[in-house]
Symmetry: C3
Subunit: 134 residues, 3 copies
């Protein structure tokens, strides 16, 4: 890895791939063990959030399509705030009459450098808008 | 900031956050004082464009979701052209019967290095497509 | 160009602009002469794929809106795998009753450094979802 900016972009893209694959082990590796996640399910420890991600999704597939993060490093350079827009496409099994759902989300991540690379220590996921597709 | 590429990505992301917050002071800081903006409202000085941005939006919220810029620096490295695709989600107050609007936009920005960082000196915003959501 | 990461992002963004302009010469310059493309039309040599791109699109316009690539370099640094999410907006001539189409695509690209810069040597384009707009 060439630098911190590239590592942080990589971290977010690995999040997207792991979330879409419902790969809990891969998701776990992106967060510090004591991370806090505050999103659609409320505020909880990462272990609890990972348990929820281990259950089957009601949707057939998803695509976490992330924009470029707005990155602000702390003065010491070992922590940063990331502000990332995302559009999440939740794809229904249309044969069952279910509808697609699209969400506009803003991820506000606190990240810290660890011995094994950057990790998310706190995530606030704000849903800005949702659209139920016809 | 590590380098010009990161500063330019940062500039665009700050534009998105400022536009969505209708934060005119933050928007002003991204443009050179004599910048020209050529967009949906026609071609005008940035001061006039900022006046328009200071009026309330007809929409409840927006999300300026920007792609990666295609960046071409001048030989001297103190100016560049940015070509950025964006999808702009304009979210309606649905209780009022208004519909969401989605726009596909191509921002063609001329940027220049100033004493206080990179600034947009000219922006042409081309609307490629629009969709009125059902 | 400052570094390989920026060159690879540039390569993908040039792909998007060339695809939307149906500019076959520009598209050709992004691939190695013996590249293989495996997408909606099946698996084929790049020359055959370019022939298909030279025919008029059934749509009036397109926007290849690409996310940030997940980049993994080989140990030697002269080849890499790129995993890129994209949303492709195919815009219809609505006066003709045609409908817009939106596709969620995952581009899995193998790229290699050549004397004239990075080139795509193999592309697998997987359509994750499609939406026929109302």
């Amino acid at each position: 890895m060439s630098n911190d900016y590239e590592e942080l972009r990589n971290l977010l893209q690995r999040y997207a791939r792991a979330a879409d694959a419902r790969n809990v082990a891969a998701l776990r590796s992106l967060f510090s063990p004591d991370a806090i996640i505050d999103g659609a399910r409320g505020r909880m420890a990462v272990a609890q959030w990972l348990d929820a991600m281990a259950t089957p999704s009601p949707f057939q597939a998803s695509m976490h399509f992330l924009g470029e993060p707005l990155i602000e490093f702390d003065a010491a350079g070992d922590a940063a705030d990331l502000d990332t827009y995302a559009v999440v496409y939740q794809i229904a099994d249309r044969s069952g009459g279910q509808q697609d759902l699209t969400l506009g989300i803003r991820y506000l991540d606190r990240v810290a450098r660890s011995a094994s690379g950057w990790r998310i220590t706190e995530r606030v996921a704000k849903t800005i808008w949702t659209r139920q597709e016809p």
